[in-house]
Symmetry: C3
Subunit: 498 residues, 3 copies
């Protein structure tokens, strides 16, 4: 072990060791076997705050410094570390995946409902977060579900045609639902040989999964471990941009690649190794000198005078006037985290019309947008002047419009293709996502439009020009037009010969 | 705060605190309000060298250790920290963006002219850097400007055709000009409510911007903060590759992705966290064990015996015989940083003919190339043997030629398309960048040719094969040919029917 | 130098300095000149373990802690540091690149044969690693060699056709063979001026190179410096994922980009700066809390009780049941590291038929697969429960099949194109990799199929959906079909007119 690491650990543990959290006898018993079998799991937890601080101690902190939102010590958790048994044996009756294990009633899947015993405010807010509904919002919306199926299904070639097979659950679980969350269901129990003995375990469908919108056996939604990774559950990790990048790196929601190419990301990458990612509240300028994802979207921030700059939020979109992840256009944020309830004028479960107008009954109004913009700008102003912030936002909101316009252009070409019969769409009761030209149209909004807007939002210009932004928006429009013309030409000639 | 951080801060501040730089009364007054309003800005500065060292102290260093190039203490800056007021109220009459603010004449945009008071050599050298002319070299060259417009403008679809609209200034500012620099102009002054009071501020067009070729209100060009990020202005950050990556990550100039996949980048990523990025001069092998961008292109380097390996340069291309960013071919570096003065034999403002021969009056000759090659190779030899360095350079200069040849092939196909009328070009007075086939031709040189050469220059092989290099050069040629043939076929059939 | 760095160095060197390794007089003489000429090279070595520990000391460690596998002290290496002379003058007669240099018989290219004096087991195992045969497996297999040539050769355009020229050796050396390894051959000796004097040096073809399958002048294969970078040869670097990423980052073998987007990569990026990458053996949970590439594929691992979790291996594929790098399909791992001996039923030197069935005589059987799966799963179980590990592997092995099926679909379309005469293939004695439609087919398996499988193997879902995986598999199939139809249409019309 390096001397720095020793120093850090000594430093961190010193005041804590003095009043080291006592481990419950139940948890001690878990550790006894699992230390050998799952060495990494146990060690990870031992380094965690859960292993070092009891609820009683946690509640002695001032309200700004507190990491728990329960107002009093939950029953039985007062003077022990939050260990294996405390979470995995909590309320066994509520958990259909509970099984008898070495004399305990243990459940595999710890859920937000379990976490809410100490962290009720965070869990409640998270319920208002679009992410907590990510499974249903994808799988319960026939348009989006069809999109996902055209990605995940096998295409079979026969007689000069391809046929799409329905994707299997295993594929969906490691594809879209890795992030959106699976449905975790108990399918029964089975005996298996372990290194200790033959034992009984639950058989879980959709497992493993830590997707943000996971449907848990106990009926709750989400997985706190998506960001607060098991079994350290550290705030340090959740505040690091790499955590968000697990699901926000691809070209559809390229927040992370945009961040890395921005000035903010540059400062983080160059200097972040000296920052304090652990302390609560998080002081702008002292603990860090450029924002990570969490800074702008989640964290409780104070200035160096101790004044609150932004309140903590696990709803996350309450600092966001716009949803720039366009489906297919950017639009004001939905009112409800359940977006399956939306309907545009054409009757489709989408937040906008095919021409871009928002389905206004289902999205927030300009007043709410103004409030959210103001909340976010307070964060910007921690490091930037008024003029700087104004300039940035004017460009950003201009780009929301221009990227939408480039989506409209592509959509008009696509509609022409459907109308002229060179592609089959809704009128033919066919998927609008399964043909080559349709997939090219999807590139326009799912990747290039979104990328251009994300690049604008976080000033990661380089990503928004040649890497995945405006260059591609422009090129794709011309290629769509070329393809349409070529296909029309061939159709015309076919027709003339007949 | 972590113990390591404490240790570092104590270590760094100790000798400085003893003779802590006095803050001027003007700067103290700035900080009084801005500490609360812009917590991050003030804290960032407080950690900076500017906050800790006066010019008087800076000038006491030996010439190799010195970070300032002024020969004597500028008036009024001798015994105070270089704080808010020192920069933002300097020479107010020279700055059209000066405004009355809390009793001071403050300007928003600190420019290289301001920095040159203490750093005259660096600013002068930077004036010879292509980057300082980046705004004009793009926006003042009709060929490149048209290219940029086809990227940034909105395409509108009507009657089976697209029409390109001129891009708006906000888009250009966050797209190409984010890096190339905007024109920052004072458009007037306006009153606005602040958290303190109602106050007057200048209205700036093209703001914010930190592009390398920014045109400042005072007429100077560039922004030192592009690399020496406000308000720490740290050499540590400028020496980190993430800084360069803000503008050199995309497929057009993929220096950073090539670096990360090279052995050099690997060593930096694996071991760089222990290096010393602060010390001047920078000792090869002791302070770092593999180069970053700055090592090869900018920094003053010494060997472990204290002998100079390379002089500091802010011109940056005086270690570079070739400009491998091909427009459209790689070529010897331009003589003048203002590239708008170039003319090839065809009369176009380009550094080469359409067939690849350099416009020799405007580029450096073989003698100057040899000197620059020798200067760079001295850096290579710090860690590599003669044979190693020779081998690397032979491959590199071979690849400059082969990548040019692959651009020539694509260009010949493109010229055929123009000649045979399946695309409209200069003869039709049409843009050569606006059609699908033309954009495919652009891919060849703007991305794949450049990427192949960058991968060769820095031995980031993996990037130059399948990621964005030779594979794509080869595939793109065949696709161009396919498209040309398909279009010719359709045109022929059209003709035969008529 | 930073205080942390000082602290680390003091900490690391203290116990070693006490018994600091004596440097041989030969090595001292090397350093005398080279310290000035190649400052970085010498400093790098001085920080290495080779500079600090003698073989005698190394052999005093317990077997688990030992970094050398020789059972006794090799002649002459007992009580001196392993310095310049120890490696570069070893067995001069065996090395055709040996030259007379300042009174010594020095060879440039240190080879695995040299390293095997102290590390025989590692070199022997590495000989069973596919990587050690990487040069021949590519360049000695006519199918793969042709593929490489279509990537590296120059295409010339004339008479509406392109002709492929054979690639030159310099291009191959910095393209495919950068990773696969060059053939390093002594072409003679020449005099050259140095900063010291005129001197004689060998002229080496294929130099520089550190490819994993390098063919060395002494007839041995590989380069230990590919991962254990000269001249520190540190285990820390080899254990960092950046080392593997030099050759496993592109879309053909995207292990690194998949890792970075996985939970494992996230933990490494967020918290890895505090891990101990130096200690042997490597303790899961204590030294690190998430795996790097080396953890799963190479390293000797123990749990916190000191029990061995996995034995060290430089064969590397003995924890791997499947070769997911599909050529063109994924398949059980080859039995022999020399894959040029393989033959499928069609007589081609490939591990599978064109329809996907493995060439079963040449790949490992299900029993060996089961053993390898079990070995790898023991590593997984260090941090994960049985149910978790089962679920992950079921998905992974399902994806091996589905990605193969999507390759089959594309191949069937390609075969149709060959049969119907819109592309020229084996029947016409033409390359199957040189036309646009063929290169599109290659995208399917060389990039998208592989990426989907790598994303599955390491649970980097985001990469395997939109970034480079299933989305592209699906889109590419439709585009192939579109292109086939368009070409058939044109051919038909051509025919009808004739």
């Amino acid at each position: 072990m390096k001397l720095t690491t020793v120093a850090v650990l000594v430093g961190l543990l010193w005041p804590v060791c003095a009043s080291a959290a006592e481990v419950s006898s139940e948890t001690s018993e878990c550790i006894e076997c699992h230390r050998t079998i799952n060495s990494g799991m146990v060690s990870d937890w031992e380094k965690s705050r859960h292993a070092r601080v009891t609820m009683q101690e946690a509640l002695q902190r001032s309200s700004l410094e507190r990491r728990v939102s329960a107002q009093q010590v939950p029953k039985g958790l007062g003077n022990v570390a939050i260990g294996c048994a405390e979470c995995h044996t909590m309320s066994p009756a509520q958990h259909p995946d509970t099984f008898e294990h070495a004399g305990y009633h243990v459940h595999v899947v710890v859920t937000p409902k379990d976490c809410s015993v100490c962290h009720p405010t965070e869990v409640k807010e998270y319920g208002q977060n679009l992410m907590s509904h990510a499974h249903k919002n994808l799988n319960g919306n026939p348009v989006y579900k069809n999109l996902a199926d055209t990605v995940n299904g096998i295409q079979v070639f026969e007689n000069m045609q391809t046929t799409l097979q329905a994707p299997d659950a295993k594929t969906a679980a490691e594809s879209c639902n890795y992030c959106h969350g699976t449905v975790v269901e108990v399918k029964g129990f089975k005996r298996r040989q372990t290194v200790m003995d033959e034992m009984t375990f639950p058989v879980l469908a959709g497992w493993p999964n830590q997707g943000v919108g996971r449907i848990n056996p106990d009926g709750s939604v989400g997985s706190c471990a998506a960001c607060h990774t098991r079994h350290a559950f550290s705030i340090e990790m959740a505040r690091n941009p790499h955590t968000c990048s697990e699901c926000h790196k691809g070209p559809d929601v390229p927040a992370y690649p945009v961040y890395t190419v921005s000035k903010h990301g540059n400062i983080y990458s160059s200097l972040g190794k000296e920052w304090d990612f652990e302390v609560v509240p998080w002081t702008v300028g002292r603990d860090f000198t450029a924002p990570t994802c969490a800074t702008c979207h989640v964290s409780l921030l104070v200035n160096t005078e101790g004044e609150v700059v932004a309140e903590r939020t696990h709803q996350m979109n309450n600092r966001l006037p716009w949803r720039i992840f366009g489906l297919i256009y950017a639009h004001p944020h939905p009112k409800s985290p359940d977006t399956t309830i939306m309907k545009n004028k054409a009757g489709l479960p989408l937040p906008t019309e095919l021409t871009g107008e928002p389905a206004s009954d289902f999205v927030i109004g300009t007043k709410e947008q103004a409030e959210r913009r103001h909340t976010m700008q307070k964060v910007c102003l921690s490091c930037h002047s008024y003029g700087w912030v104004d300039g940035q936002w004017e460009r950003f909101e201009n780009t929301i419009q221009t990227a939408n316009e480039m989506t409209l252009t592509a959509t008009q070409i696509m509609v022409t293709a459907w109308e002229k019969g060179v592609a089959k769409g809704l009128a033919q009761n066919d998927s609008i996502f399964n043909e080559a030209i349709e997939k090219k149209w999807m590139d326009q909004w799912l990747f290039y439009g979104n990328s251009t807007r994300f690049a604008s939002a976080m000033a990661g210009a380089d990503y928004g020009v040649f890497a995945n932004g405006r260059w591609r928006l422009a090129k794709n429009v011309q290629e769509l037009l070329d393809l349409l013309e070529l296909k029309l030409q061939v159709v015309k000639e076919e027709g003339q010969k007949d």
